[in-house]
């Protein structure tokens, strides 16, 4: 076991699970609470306190639209509603294919690029609503390619057997 069964590791364990699954499934929560011997209610309290932890599934690509002051003034809400139109989901939701989830954040610290959004640590700045479909398509294609890679490697694997 990576962590000893002590309460003080609650956050570390939850962060690891968040990283691995992009969210913390309920089964994992129950498992952690039993392993670390921390009351389920207290663990749930922690999990809902930190914004970095999510109890709902998140997409493969997490789109964070900045709605800080600078971005707001440069119509970040137009960007958001365009995204909603493109993906068919509201902020805080996930697309049915599990590819994208959208959320708003208060400031990304890149006000010079306003309006800005970040998708899995990649920044997209000085956005116009017209840019969005291109960007989204880019990620869709990237995802399809990685899926193809998976299939190929699987076939190769089968061949070797």
């Amino acid at each position: 076991m990576k962590y000893p069964a002590e309460r003080r590791f609650s956050l570390a364990v939850m962060q690891d699970i968040q990283r691995a699954f992009n969210y913390i499934p309920k089964e994992a929560m129950i498992e952690i609470s039993e392993y670390l011997n921390i009351p389920f209610s207290q663990l749930y309290s922690m999990a809902t306190f930190y914004k970095a932890l999510s109890l709902e599934p998140k997409g493969k690509y997490i789109i964070k639209v900045c709605d800080g002051t600078a971005c707001h003034i440069r119509s970040s809400m137009v960007i958001l509603s365009e995204l909603q139109k493109l993906l068919g989901i509201d902020a805080g939701e996930i697309t049915r294919d599990g590819l994208f989830s959208v959320e708003t954040v208060n400031c990304l610290g890149a006000c010079a690029l306003a309006p800005v959004m970040v998708i899995n640590n990649e920044y997209h700045g000085k956005l116009t609503p017209q840019d969005l479909s291109e960007i989204i398509r880019g990620y869709r294609n990237a995802s399809d390619e990685s899926k193809d890679d998976l299939i190929i490697s699987k076939e190769e694997g089968d061949g070797n057997v």
């Binding site: 309920k26 009351p39 389920f40 207290q42």
Partner: protein, 253 residues
């Protein structure tokens, strides 16, 4: 053990070292308003209404009396002009937070409050998020409820708002709640609390429903797992029975 002398509002009170100022005042009949303190539980220091002024070595400062341990002789005032003004502000904020709460309304009437028209009011909620219920649940050893989320969405709940396996339906949370905002429904021998339904047990004497099956079992476990038939007697009947026993024994003399 040497006693410490605390002068509260001019009245000399004796106290043990480390006792909390609020407890000392209450014991001596000095009323300090408070919401989130219960004598059986640790101070929460959430409502801040129990503020008092402490004077030591020619200096004064404001403390929350429910969590202020008295370590040496000192003087305290609980009703100065400054304290009254601060309490008014606190009650103004509480009134805006839970405008429908009777408890807060009557406190505000007694201690006054400022103009609250500039605050947006939060209706449909009487919880002041003091956390006393969580403390009570945890002290009992159940840990069924806790604070969930944070900031303006913070609330008290069970995990996932679902009926909690840890809850025994004892109702301690509702009992200690200063604003009485935790709902307990009792109908046809079923108690509903925190979205969970509990079957109630009748008192062997008077036949009234008084305890949930789960709580009865929990108490039995705590008392060392008493085996066999256990009498189920409610608080009132137990009191009456004890009183009767005392009467009988005293009559013998």
């Amino acid at each position: 053990m040497d006693k410490i002398s605390v002068i509260i509002n001019g009245k000399k009170c004796l106290a043990d070292k480390g006792e909390f100022l609020l407890d000392i005042a209450e014991r001596n009949g000095i009323v300090i308003p408070h919401l989130c303190h219960h004598e059986a539980l640790r101070g929460q220091a959430a409502c801040r209404l129990c503020i008092a002024e402490v004077r030591e070595n020619g200096r004064k400062r404001i403390v929350t009396s429910c969590i202020f341990p008295v370590m040496r002789d000192l003087e305290a005032e609980t009703d100065t002009e400054e304290i009254r003004e601060m309490r008014k502000t606190l009650l103004s904020l509480l009134s805006a937070e839970v405008p429908e709460s009777q408890t807060i309304a009557s406190l505000a009437e007694e201690y006054g409050k400022g103009d609250v028209s500039r605050f947006s009011k939060d209706f449909g909620n009487e919880c002041i998020l003091c956390g006393l219920c969580v403390e009570a649940c945890s002290e009992l050893g159940c840990n069924a409820i806790a604070t969930v989320n944070r900031g303006i969405t913070k609330k008290i709940s069970t995990p996932y708002d679902e009926p909690s396996a840890a809850c025994i339906g004892c109702g301690s949370c509702a009992y200690v709640c200063p604003t009485g905002c935790i709902r307990i429904d009792e109908r046809n021998g079923i108690r509903t609390i925190w979205n969970k339904e509990f079957e109630l047990i009748r008192c062997d004497r008077c036949g009234r429903y008084y305890i949930t099956k789960e709580e009865n079992e929990y108490l039995r476990q705590r008392n060392g797992g008493v085996q066999g038939e256990l009498q189920c007697i409610c608080k009132n009947c137990r009191q009456a029975e004890t009183a009767k026993k005392i009467m009988e024994t005293s009559l013998e003399f």
